[in-house]
Amino acid sequence: MSHVRYIDKTREYYQSEGYAAPYRWAHFDDVPFTRLARPLAECRVGLVTTSEMVIRGREDELAHVENDPTRPGYSLPMETPTKELVSRKASYDKYATTLDDVDAYLPLTHLRRLVEERRIAGLAPRFQVVHSQYSQRRTLTVDAPRVLAELHEDRVDVAVLTAV
C-alpha cells in the first residue's frame, strides 16, 4: 500500500470541520544542497528535532515555553541519558504507535555508538528542539537562524534532522 497522503487528508479533514481555506504547506522551488566537506569519520554531527523533548522531572523548567504562544525553541545537553528524556509532542499518531522509545525518533543511543565506532568524529554538545509551528514565518525568521547559529557555534559539520 502506498504512503499516507497527509496533505490531502488534512485538507479533507479540515474542510469537513468547516474551515474554508486549506493550510498552505511550506514549499520551496529552490532547495539548497551542500556536499560533505570531509569524510564523515572527521565530521561532528548535530541533531535537530521537532520531538519536543524535556528532561524527566525537570518539565517545569520549560513551562514558560509551553505557555508562550510564540513557542520558542530551546536546546538540551546531548549527553543527557536517553532514559531521562521524554517527549511532550502531542501531534503524532497516538492511535498506531507510541513515543515511549526515544531512539525511534531521536537516535541518541545509535549516534553515540557511531562515535565509538569512529563512523563519525563526535557529537555537538547540545541538540536543538524546534516546535512544529503553525507559522512558517516564525520557523524561517526565528527558529532556523537560531538553530543554524548554534550549530555553527558548536562547530558542527553535518546536521541530522528528525521530523516527529
Binding site: 504547506w25 544542497f33 551542500t34 510564540t70 499518531d93 492511535y95 525511534a104 525518533y105 514565518r137 541530522v160
Partner: protein
C-alpha cells in the same frame, strides 16, 4: 551545512523540498525506527549517513525497507473523525497558538 532529514510524512517533506530525506513508512512519531527495535533504528540511521555521503543533489529521497504492519488499516484511519490528530486539551492549545499567530501577523513581531 549538509543535512539529512528523517521523516514519515513523505508528501509533506517532498512538497517542502529538503536536500536529503530518509523516508520510513511508519505512523507519524517514529522516523528513526520501530520502537524498541534497535536493529531497524540503527539500519535507518545508517541509511541516512550513507545518503549524506552519496547524494549528488537536492530532493534526494531514500525509502527504508520497513513496513509497519501487514495490516495497513492504520493508514486509512489517519486524520478521521474517529482518530483526529489533536483532541481535547491538545486541540485547545493548538487553536490558542494559531489565534496568537494570527494576532501577531502584521505587527512586525516574529
Amino acid at each position: 551545512m549538509p543535512t539529512v532529514m528523517f521523516g514519515c510524512a513523505r508528501d509533506i517533506v517532498e512538497h517542502c523540498g529538503v536536500p536529503r530525506f530518509v523516508f520510513t513508512d511508519f505512523p507519524l512519531g517514529n522516523p528513526t525506527g520501530r520502537p524498541f527495535d534497535p536493529g531497524s533504528q540503527r539500519h535507518i540511521l545508517d541509511l541516512g549517513l550513507h545518503l549524506l555521503e552519496s547524494a549528488r543533489g537536492p530532493r534526494t529521497t531514500v525509502q527504508s525497507p520497513y513496513e509497519w504492519s501487514t495490516d495497513t488499516t492504520w493508514k486509512a484511519k489517519v486524520l478521521t473523525r474517529e482518530q483526529p490528530f489533536l483532541d481535547g486539551a491538545d486541540k485547545e492549545k493548538w487553536l490558542a497558538r494559531k489565534a496568537a499567530d494570527k494576532a501577531l501577523k502584521g505587527t512586525g513581531k516574529p
